[in-house]
């Protein structure tokens, strides 16, 4: 029964939601499919709580044992629970709550993201060498798109904008579409295997 019950639950959940896409009967579309989706949203919220609990356990242990970077663990716990409690007690529209978010989290996250720009530019310099015709094609495309998307490039040569748009719209879109369709076919086949109980990785070691 330890194997069968999760397999039956998986089948009902997967097949029920899929049926909701194809059948208009209220019993399937509303009672089964819509309710299953609403349950999934609630379960996802529990997953967030589980993540917070796991973070607390890991970093709490590291802090209590004075492990590697224990001070950072302390800072993480202070941020996690301090921000959570402030929001819980005072509400998410409380001025100090939004101030901490706007003055610490927003510039901090944006800074980390912005660092990518520095690394991308130095990486371009180190790697964009025209060693072969394929590399030459990539370098030329990158140059046209990089300049075509900004004002300075469009001021230098107005045709750069439309050429950049064309590259995005046709060669890029066709390649991305191939990747997306390939990934979708893989997802569909994996989904069918999970629903039918052929693929049992989600049940853990005992399910296989």
């Amino acid at each position: 029964m330890r194997k069968e019950v999760p397999l039956i639950v998986t089948f009902i959940a997967g097949a029920g939601i899929m049926a909701g896409f194809f059948l208009q009967a209220p019993l399937v579309k509303v009672s089964l499919s819509a309710n299953l989706l609403n349950w999934a949203v609630i379960i996802s919220a529990f997953a967030l709580a589980l993540g917070a609990g796991n973070l607390t356990r890991l970093h709490g242990l590291n802090l209590s044992r004075r492990g590697k970077n224990w001070a950072l663990s302390g800072l993480l716990l202070l941020g996690l629970w301090g921000f959570f409690l402030l929001g819980l007690v005072k509400g998410p529209t409380y001025s100090s709550y939004t101030y901490i978010f706007n003055a610490v989290l927003v510039p901090g996250s944006a800074t980390v993201m912005a660092l990518n720009g520095f690394y991308i530019i130095s990486a371009c310099y180190r790697t964009f060498r025209m060693r072969s015709w394929q590399a030459t094609l990539m370098v030329l495309t990158a140059v046209v798109v990089a300049l075509g998307r900004v004002g300075i490039g469009q001021a230098m040569w107005p045709a750069l904008g439309p050429i950049s748009d064309w590259i995005n719209r046709y060669p890029n879109a066709s390649a991305m579409r191939g990747i997306v369709i390939g990934a979708a076919l893989g997802t569909v086949s994996l989904g069918i295997r999970v629903i039918l109980g052929i693929e049992r990785g989600h049940l853990g070691a005992e399910g296989g």
Binding site: L37, N38, G117
Partner: protein, 282 residues
């Protein structure tokens, strides 16, 4: 004693610290003193503008305002420009937050500024729903059973007391769905566009725009505002020059610098290749 480097070798070995310093300088200077470079409107931004503009007066739309802290510099200017356009037309707006729990804080900022400028009435013309975990699953649930997923708004008010919320049962009650997120439009196409046929407009970051282009090219999304450039273009279209236009000067200078570096490293590569010294920069 180390042999001295030739000019060609030096071109290919510019210290990474020098590059990073120059990048920082090229970002800062245009921000302090913007040049005001011209902006060409891309097809995706123009189509997004036209789609919003074609909405009949009093239409209700859903905007998934999934702006996170990391992508806020790219998405917030887009959101502000959109809101100026939509609020000038008195479009009714329902805000959801599928991909970012941080989204409500940015939406609140928008309510306190842009919505106030247009005297938008909360509950009748605009409503903010709470964040729902589950990402794609949450979006599917919102599309199928809007009232069931949101019995209350973000502030805890019962949805039955909000006139705008009472108008909506499921996704078919929206004239359009737009999203602002550091994700491509794939989940919105899968869960809303394809099964319900509701038009979609996408606002996304630079890194996600190549994926989004595939959906725009195929006509599965009606408009695409991509990255800071898209935000600057939208600001031009609505006639409200804002932060994106100023930041685009900084992006222009760094893009040009990147191209110059690529040219330099290739000059070095071809010159040193002849003498068999072609190597890596540091």
């Amino acid at each position: 004693m180390k042999p001295s480097l030739s000019f060609a070798e030096r071109l290919g070995r510019i210290d990474v610290r020098v590059i990073h310093f120059l990048v920082a300088l090229l970002i800062l200077l245009p921000l302090i003193r913007p040049v005001g470079l011209p902006t060409q409107i891309s097809e995706g931004t123009q189509k997004a503008y036209d789609t919003f503009d074609a909405l009949p007066p009093g239409s209700t739309i859903l905007i998934d305002y999934s702006i996170g802290a990391a992508c806020a510099p790219e998405l917030e200017p887009q959101a502000t420009a959109w809101m100026h356009h939509l609020m000038a037309k008195r479009t009714k707006i329902v805000l959801t937050f599928v991909y970012s729990a941080e989204g409500p804080i940015f939406a609140q900022k928008m309510l306190d500024t842009v919505a106030k400028e247009y005297n938008y009435e909360y509950g009748k013309e605009i409503v903010m729903t709470p964040y729902r975990a589950g990402q794609e699953t949450a979006l599917a649930a919102i599309a199928r059973d809007f009232q069931g997923v949101f019995p209350q708004d973000y502030y805890g008010a019962d949805s039955s007391t909000l006139p705008l919320m009472q108008e909506i049962q499921d996704i078919n009650d929206f004239a359009l769905v737009a999203h602002l997120a550091n994700f491509g439009p794939d989940i919105y196409v899968r869960q809303i566009g394809a099964p319900y046929g509701v038009p979609i407009v996408c606002g996304t970051t630079g890194v996600c725009s190549p994926l989004a282009q595939a959906y725009f090219a195929s006509g599965q999304i009606q408009g695409l505002v991509a990255a800071l450039g898209g935000a600057a273009e939208y600001e031009v279209l609505v006639g409200k020059p804002g932060p994106a236009a100023a930041m685009m000067d900084a992006q222009s200078s760094t893009h040009l610098f990147a191209v110059i570096l690529v040219v330099l490293c290739n000059i070095s590569y071809f010159l040193t290749r002849k003498s068999g010294q072609a190597g890596q920069g540091r």
